[in-house]
Structure formats: C-alpha cells, structure tokens
Amino acid sequence: MSEPQQPDNSIRPEVKDQQTPSQIAAALQRQHPEWVSEVIEALGEATIIVPRERIAEVCEWLKTSPDHEFNFLSDVCGFDRGPEEEPRFEVNYHLFSTTKHHRLRLKVLLNEEDVHVPTVTGVWRTANWHERETYDLFGVIFDGHPDLRRILLPDDWQGHALRKDFPLRGYEPYSLT
C-alpha cells in the first residue's frame, strides 16, 4: 500500500477544466443578459435567478453549450418564503456536468396568484418526478409536464403540505378508509 499523503482540509479543491460558479454565471450574463435577473454568489455556490418563462430555454442552452455541458439535473426543489412574502415561491434547479464536474443553481421566483413554470422534462427526463414532487408539496404547476399528478401524498389530499401555512399536523386526521 502506498504511503498516505497528508490530508488536505480544503472542502472543494480545483479540478481541471472545471469552471468556478462565478465564471459560469459571468458567461451566461455576457452571452444572454436577458436570461439573468440576478446572480448571487455565496459559500462557493452561484445562484442565477432566471425569468420564469425563460427557464426551459436557459436549461437547454446550458445543457448543449460546449463550455458548460450541464447534462445532469441533480435536483429540483421548491421553497415557500411564507404567505406574506411577494414573490412567495422559489423553485431551485441544481445542475451538474458529468464531464466537467461543476455545479450551478438556477432559481425561479413565483407569485402566489400565478404559480406556473414551464417544465424542463423536455431537457432532462429526470425532471419528471422532481417536478411532480414540487407540485405535490408546494402546488407549483409545471406547464407542459406529461404526467403532473401527486406523487408522495394521496390523490385526494387537500392542500400542499410543505407550504408554510399548512399546519404541521394537517387540517384534520387523515384516514385511508
């Protein structure tokens, strides 16, 4: 067995041909300024806030662009800022590149009256279940989704459980019978 090297305590070392989150954000802003509402950089991660109706286009571009190759959608998750906030909902898309190993977060902000987002199932098929989960728990409607049904909760469930105004124990005891 080889002599163990001295452990390096850095959490995120540099990998070759990997772009830093800020480089990706800058490239997107330079080439398509209309797609970027805001760039937030914190804790070594970049978040790009994208206009709602553009999200599928942005994802398609990031997936096919040879500089980025975000061919892997890690995760989609929603967030409810609270009933009194405006915009109220956030949808986060966590992108990853299997060739370049960099990551990026896209964010879409939604008002409570109009919780519609274009689906990204056409870009990555894995978005199917993630979007169903976000619909189930937050009530965000993904336009164009092929099969937008509840996934974790029963079909006849009332309300969306991860919204901040949904009580922890539900409105009433739930029974399957």
Binding site: M1, S2, P4, Q5, Q6, P7, D8, N9, I11, R12, P13, V15, A42, L43, G44, E45, T47, N71, F72, L73, S74, D75, C77, F79, D80, N92, H94, F96, T98, H101, R103, R105, W124, R125, T126, N128, W129, H130, L137, R150, I151, L152, L153, P154, A161, L162, F166, L168
Partner: protein, 405 residues
C-alpha cells in the same frame, strides 16, 4: 355497466377475449419490492408492457419536520431516511450545515468520518447483495452477507451506541471519540473481509442461474442513464465513470487512493459487478483511514456550535453557559442556501438547506438517490418478463424510507 353500482369503472370486469393485456398491482406488500412500493404492471401474457411505480406509502413528512426542529435535532431524522446508510445521511446533512456555518473540522474527525462511511457503504452493499440474491432465488447468500454485516453493525454500535440509527456525526465533528481498542476491532474485520468477498463470489458470480437471470436484463445506455439522472453504481454500471467522491471531493476523499469500478454492459449483471468491486475499494479506503488515525480533537473549536467537553462543563463557567445556550436555543446559522452532494451507497445524495437565520432551517430538501433511480424503472423494464422486474428492482437497490421521506 357493472351489476354493483359503486364499483369504479377501472375495476369493472369486462370480458374481452381478444384483448390479452392485463393490469395487475404488484405490492405494496410484495416481499421483493423492498419496502412498501406498489407497481402498476400492464402485462401482455408474461411480458411487461408498462410498469408504473406508485410511491408514497412511507411518506412521513420528514422535510416538514426539519422546519420545526433545531439543526441538531435534524440529525436524528436523517438516520431514518436511507436506513441502510444512516451515516451517509448524517454526513451529507452535517456537512451542509457546516458549510452554512463555515467551520472546519479537525483532521481526526474527518478520517473517522471517512472510515465509518466506508464501513457503512460495505454494510449497505451487503444488504443489497443478500436481498438481491434472495429475490432471484439464492437464499444462502443472505445468511453469509448478514453475518458480515453484523460485524459492521457491532463496530457502529461500539462507536455511537446505535446500530441502525447512529447519529454519530454532529455539526462540527463527531458525537464522541472512538472507544478504546476500536482500531484493533476494525483491523480484525479488515483482515476477515476479503475472504468473505471471495466467498460471495464463489456463491453467486459463477452461478449459472444467477447469470442467466441478470445478464442483458434491465439495460440502460449511458446517455439514457445521465438523462434519467441515475447515479452511483447504476450509472457506473452503464459505463460512466462518475463518483462524487472524485468529482466534487469532500471530507478529504481526494487524498485517498481508490479506484472507481466501471462496467459497460448497463444491465443488472454490470451493476452487480460494480457493487462487488466497490466493496473491495471501500475496504481499501477503510484500511488507509485506519493507518491515518492519529490522536487529536474530534470536535471543531467553535464553542457556539459544538457542545463543550463534559469535564470542561463541570469546571468552566463559559463552557456551562455555551452548553446551556446550545441546548436551549440552538445554533444561530447565518442566512444562506447550500446544496451539498455526497456519494452515498446508492448514488448522489444531495442536501439542500435554506437558512433565513436562527436556530431552525427554513427548508431542508434531500435529493435521495433511490428516488431518482426508481423513476427510471419504467424505462428499464419495457418489454421484460415479470420475473425480471424483481431482478431489476433488486439491482436498483432502493430504500423506500429515502424515496418517500
């Protein structure tokens, strides 16, 4: 119209002699669905036309619970998600919180984390091997794998006090240091384990029935696997060399010498070979970690985050105050959001935490690898036989606790 008025239309019995398709429900109490998973199978004779997973039977609202608990209390919830790999869940969660707090943990704690996580990965793969072979019809393997797993469970129990729910990793380090003589016990396991893997190979790999049941079954190509977001051994079984431990290293994994096993066939057999080789790689990493263990602190020097030493608490005023505040009020985490991915035994386990300040998170989301891997089941199972479904589910290595959360 049915004779009984209140039968829903989809359950009406209609006699159509030329229509050979049949819809049957597999589960939720089927033993080979590894928990409470229901599959809606559309069959044409013995052939599967369509398989639709129906999940949610174990949904316990864990992500909602996190929002009502302090950060430290969240650790015990993570144990109950992927209950075969609880230390991996602990690691992903505490590392995400550590990233929000921007604290560094000491070297010894990192080494112990690596060692325990790799032992847990072996344990998780052993359960997979036992149940996968059991599903296919080889019952003996189960007893051999659980014999080895028991040794790892005893090690985890010795370190943390819990077998299935260790909660051993805490924000800023570990719950406590390893007990005396732990290295010797790990070494004992390390000495025996390669022989055990040889034993599994003798039992399973050369078995002609096992090969016939797995080769060419549940094929998925590399492009499709990436498109479906598959990760872990399934993605590597399709020929994609990707491991989060290498791609985005954490806990000093970049300093360990190990290989990423890759197979190119993309079927159940390839996933079997990948996991079998992964056990040997994990064994290698544990060996390196044991040789690196040097005395030192296992908790970060961050009094506002980490509980003080028991002895210090009894003699020092400030330690007592910190202890009281930590338990009563919790950790004040600055606002921000992080996504921290790790390589769990089943694939990429990502934790998204959104903090708006204060002791409780605003949102915790788990990207469970089993959840995503299961979503590709309809794609993998088109045109296979009913019995192959059982082999494919076994090769996906799903844990319903993580899928339903």
């Amino acid at each position: 119209m049915s004779a009984v008025a209140n039968i829903p239309p989809q359950f009406e019995i209609v006699d159509r002699p030329l229509d050979t398709q049949m819809t049957i429900s597999m589960g939720p109490q089927h033993p080979s669905t590894h928990g409470v998973l229901r599959l809606e199978l559309v069959l044409d004779g013995e052939m599967v036309v369509k398989a639709t997973p129906d999940i949610g039977y174990l949904h316990t609202g864990m992500e909602k619970l996190f929002e009502y608990r302090k950060y430290q209390q969240g650790i015990v919830i993570t144990d109950r998600m992927d209950y075969l790999n609880p230390l991996g869940n602990n690691l992903a969660y505490v590392m995400a919180v550590e990233k929000l707090l921007q604290i560094e943990i000491p070297e010894r704690a990192q080494t112990i984390r690596v060692m325990m996580c790799e032992l847990q990965r072996i344990a998780s793969h052993l359960v997979w091997l036992g149940t996968h072979a059991l599903d296919i019809g080889a019952m003996t393997v189960f007893f051999y794998t659980f014999r080895e797993r028991e040794k790892i469970m005893n090690l985890i129990e010795a370190a943390s006090g819990g077998r299935l729910t260790p909660s051993y990793f805490r924000v800023g380090g570990l719950m406590m240091d390893l007990p005396a003589g732990f290295e010797r016990r790990v070494q004992q396991f390390q000495n025996d384990f390669p022989k055990a893997v040889d034993e599994f190979h003798t039992l399973v790999t050369g078995n002609r029935i096992f090969q016939k049941r797995t080769q060419g079954v549940g094929y998925i190509s590399a492009e499709d696997a990436i498109d479906w977001g598959l990760s872990g051994p399934i993605l590597r079984g399709s020929g994609v060399e990707l491991d989060v431990r290498r791609a985005n290293p954490y806990t000093s994994y970049e300093t360990y010498d190990f290989e990423i096993p890759v197979e190119h066939d993309g079927d159940v057999w390839a996933r079997y070979l990948v996991r079998m080789r992964e056990m040997r790689e994990s064994h290698k990493i544990v060996q390196q970690a044991v040789s690196r263990l040097k005395p030192g602190p296992v908790k970060a020097d961050a009094p506002k985050v980490v509980l003080p030493d028991r002895e210090a608490m009894k003699t020092h005023m400030d330690a007592l105050i910190h202890h009281f505040l930590l338990v009563a009020e919790g950790v004040d985490v600055p606002p921000g959001e992080v996504y921290h991915p790790i390589e769990a035994s089943k694939g990429e386990l990502g934790v998204y935490i959104k903090s708006t300040g204060g002791p409780k998170p605003a949102r915790v989301h788990f990207r469970g690898p089993s959840f995503v891997n299961l979503s590709a089941l309809p794609h993998m199972s088109r045109g296979c036989m009913v019995a192959d479904i059982v082999a494919i589910i076994g090769s996906l290595d799903i844990v319903l606790g993580e899928i339903d959360r």
